[in-house]
Amino acid sequence: MFVYADHAATTRMLPIAVQAYTKTADLIFGNPSSLHTVGQRAQELLTSCREEVAAILGASPREIYFTSGGSESDNQALLSAAYAGAKKGKKKIVSTAIEHHAVLHTLKKLEKEGFEIVLLPVGESGIVSADDARRAIDRDTALVSVMLANNEIGTIQPVREIAEICKACGVPLHTDAVQAVGHIPVNVNELGCDYLALSAHKFGGPKGTGVLYARTGAPLSPLIEGGAQERNKRAGTEDLPSIAGMVAALKASVADMDASCAHLRKLQRKLIEGIEARISHCSLNGDRANRLPGNVSFCFEGVEGEALLLYLDDEGICASSGSACTSGSLDPSHVLLAIGRVHDVAHGSLRLTLGAENTEEEVDYLLEKIPYVVQKVRSFSPVWRDLQEGKRKFIL
């Protein structure tokens, strides 16, 4: 059996998105900036794509900017708001300890430029507290950035509550909604955010394409200089096939959201409970209820994550881990450390992210193979032996 359980990394394109992509590449090849008929057909498609994204997010089309994906959207939102704040003498930025690197590394860069960065903790639940946000945000804050859903542990953040705090202090709020859009309802007015980043490949669209929503009046400066595309905010001939593919995927994901959410919740519950019943000394990462419907993330004691992933791959299972070895650094995932996992345990993490096409039979297969592979890795782990022999204390 083959089970793809790494949908938070990326998704396979939906057939309808492939269709929209290829049809556009084939037939609507014009440059939207060209004045002739072929160009104007492309311009019309671009306009309707923008309207469709806007309608789904509850935005106005003038607030939608097509970009190369989540990373670019995050970068542009943060840099625009930070520099605009600095002009008014505001140099404090409030964010969370569990943001994606697209946000954290941009904040690092801003810190080197003299901004003060405050990262809110999350605690064991993996959810930032609005009270902590309230204490940190003040009138000198240039920008607040809080992700809507975390990519590793799937926890959903109280963005709406934080937006109210921001509003009261006149501070712009960015939310990285890359993992949320297409999976849970996302409406910019209900959230009250000023910027929002989304990425097509997380919901069945093509890779390398995404959207930055920027509320009317929110400062926005280009990262890429050149032509006048995207109302002078993002130069470069638009990747219309990808944009069309993204819109097709977004419409389909939103239309199917209720059904796929119910399906995923059922699989998620079965998988979480199944792992807990079959594997000793493991612990679910992040809040049990307030998480994305497809996310299942565990730490297993006495196990190293990369070995686990490679053995699972041999069983036809695609998953991911936050161990140091898979991150290419010496430290395990900053998200797992932020929720209080000590290094020893954080190395033994496994993230399974299910998608709508996963079946109950596949979950049964996961529940057969994961315990087998964990047992195999533990069978020759000196850490596990020490735990068994009482030379080392169990943490989980």
Binding site: E306, A307, S333
Partner: protein, 153 residues
């Protein structure tokens, strides 16, 4: 978190999938453990020695694919050999025998070298056999994660 992992040679994957000499030796003549759980890898080597020959070697490893493959390869390279030869095993030789390792995984082969030395050192100590400390540079610094030679390549 979404990092590449298709970097391993066939040889590494073979040793990872079918680790040689995995397990424990009850009543081992020497045991060496290096690395630490905080860094994500621990290697433990068990040796049996007769007339200066390593008649049996086994390992246990907590670590990534290359750590498991490196320990497996190291045991294969020293089993049946005289202690003096085992002490000459270098991380470079382990890496070469594995058909190479990604640069940021070289420390796994260093751990394998350290684990072998630590086991032999333990054997010498248990039996009050005099030894030349310079031979054990590696094992004596085993608490440090990286080895100067590990930066090569």
């Amino acid at each position: 978190m979404e990092a590449e992992m298709s970097l391993y040679s066939e040889k590494v994957m073979d040793h990872f999938r079918h680790p040689r000499n995995v397990g424990v030796i009850e009543n081992a003549d020497g045991v060496g453990e290096v690395g630490n759980a905080k860094c994500g890898d621990i290697m433990k080597m068990y040796i049996k020695v007769e007339n200066g020959i390593l008649t049996d070697v086994k390992f246990e490893t907590f670590g990534c694919g290359s750590a498991i493959a490196s320990s497996s390869m190291a045991t294969e390279m020293i089993k049946g050999k005289p202690l003096s030869e085992a002490l000459e095993l270098t991380n470079r030789a382990v890496t070469e025998a594995l058909g190479g390792l990604p640069a940021y995984k070289l420390h796994c082969s260093v751990l394998a070298e350290q684990a072998v030395q630590a086991a032999v050192l333990d054997y010498y100590k248990r039996n009050n056999i005099p030894y030349d400390e310079s031979q054990f540079k590696c094992a004596l610094c085993a608490h440090e994660h990286d080895h100067p030679e590990g930066e090569e390549e």
